[in-house]
């Protein structure tokens, strides 16, 4: 019990840094969730292209980013690029790396949803005289996005959790600050336990928010 008290004391001392770290974590998670979604929609759009070459390239892109660890990509940009005199900030590297990676995953969720779509509807829209892009914007995308809500929610949770790896490229987010705290008070167990609980709480917030979202946006009759 006294161990927890002294831990609390240290944590309070270190509070401003922890809070700043938490801010950085949330900032990164929010940015990559948004950019990852936009990127995902873009990549998804390309997979529908009538041009075979485009399709092949985007499929290769998705496959490659699903098959390689994000951390390698981050190291490549952060520790490799300076070799060419290109120094990017940890946040920039993180946003670029995550966006490319998350876009691939999101595109795949959207593709899965698209495959479950009633394609007669798309034909009907074409027959009405809508252009390809219009069909995509007004018919395909709204449905596919709604059907992908569970997948996209999962990805958002993953984004938050995976943001904990960017301390490895010197971005001082929440977990980095917690490690600093642990290095000061030598209470590794307690510190990392608390870190885990904080992530769990943040995840819970996303889960609850997603439930609300789903209740509002899921089309009636599309799910058993």
């Amino acid at each position: 019990m006294s161990g927890w008290l002294s831990f609390l004391h240290d944590a309070l001392d270190y509070w401003p840094q922890i809070l700043a770290g938490l801010g950085n974590t949330v900032l990164l998670a929010v940015i990559i969730t948004v950019t990852g979604l936009i990127g995902g929609v873009f990549v998804f759009y390309l997979t529908l292209s009538p041009n075979r070459l485009y399709r092949r390239v985007t499929e290769g892109y998705i496959s490659f980013f699903i098959g390689t660890p994000l951390i390698v990509l981050l190291f490549l940009m952060y520790y490799g690029l300076p070799q060419w005199g290109l120094r990017l900030s940890p946040l920039t590297v993180s946003v670029i790396g995550f966006t490319m990676n998350v876009a691939a995953y999101n595109a795949r969720y959207l593709m899965t949803a698209y495959n479950g779509l009633d394609h007669g509807e798309l034909e009907a829209a074409r027959a009405q005289g809508f252009s390809g892009l219009q069909v995509f914007r007004f018919v395909t995308l709204p449905q596919v996005l709604r059907m992908s809500i569970p997948g996209l929610t999962n990805q958002t949770i993953l984004n938050l959790k995976d943001s904990s790896i960017v301390f490895l490229i010197q971005y001082t987010e929440f977990f980095a600050q917690m490690q600093d705290l642990a290095a000061r008070n030598f209470q590794y167990f307690k510190t990392y336990l608390v870190a885990g609980i904080v992530y769990l709480l943040l995840v819970s917030i996303i889960v609850i928010a997603a439930r609300q979202l789903e209740r509002r946006f899921v089309m009636p009759g599309t799910r058993a």
Binding site: P69, F75, L76, Q83, I165, Y188, Y192, G196, Y199
Partner: protein, 217 residues
């Protein structure tokens, strides 16, 4: 440093990467199967326990759990070797995700077949082993493939606890050769190759055991 030397170092690293990946997949499969099976037992306390397990282990980042196990547990008198720490973090997390995959697959099994097996006079265990598990495993292939890929992609964290995997070798090489760009690009391709290998292996297995017309309804 010659190109050949670099290759040998990376190959040695690949061995450790495979070891970590397979060990964590094995842990995940064992835990996932156990949790999915137990989720069939009608007991409120047990269900609460299993629910909490999957929720917690799907909610905590791999790296945080890894550090908690490897750097934290010694503080309360439990020392875990590096590979064990990977299995207790990445492996258990994979187990929580796989449990959900398996549970969904179990729910997809046609209830009529279970009743038919009961009517035949089969025991719960016999039904589980001859009807439910074989179908469940087939339904779970896409989910398992996903999860195996995820395990491979998180395996580089092994370097943080001192396992000399591909990542660790790459970092050492980058430091000595100052050619980080090429090296990280090379290991990116190496991971991609291992991913393709897993893909091919799982697909081959799936084809070997494929049953025409057996898809989750």
């Amino acid at each position: 440093m010659s190109f050949l030397q670099i290759l040998t170092l990376l190959a040695a690293g690949a061995g450790y990467t495979l070891l970590v990946t397979l060990a964590c997949i094995a842990t995940g499969l064992a835990v996932g199967l156990l949790v999915a099976m137990l989720s069939r037992v009608r007991s409120r306390p047990l269900q609460f326990l299993l629910g909490s397990f999957t929720y917690v282990f799907r909610g905590v980042p791999v790296l945080v759990l890894l550090f908690l196990v490897f750097f934290g547990l010694p503080g309360i008198g439990i020392r875990v070797p590096p590979l064990g720490a990977m299995m207790l973090s990445l492996g258990l997390i994979a187990g929580a995700y796989l449990a959900e995959v398996f549970r969904g697959a179990l729910d997809a099994i046609d209830q009529n077949e279970i009743v038919a097996a009961e009517a035949m006079g089969m025991s719960r265990l016999q039904i589980l082993l001859s009807i439910e598990v074989p179908q469940m495993l087939r339904f779970s292939v896409p989910g398992m493939l996903n999860e195996f890929t995820t395990v491979l992609k998180y395996s580089p964290f092994a370097y943080t606890v001192g396992i000399p995997d591909i990542m660790k070798q790459a970092m050492a090489l980058a430091a000595t050769t100052l050619r980080g760009l090429e090296i990280y690009l090379a290991i990116g391709l190496l991971y991609f190759a291992i991913y393709k290998l897993i893909l091919v292996a799982v697909r081959a297995l799936e084809r070997r055991f494929r049953v025409p017309g057996l898809t989750p309804p």
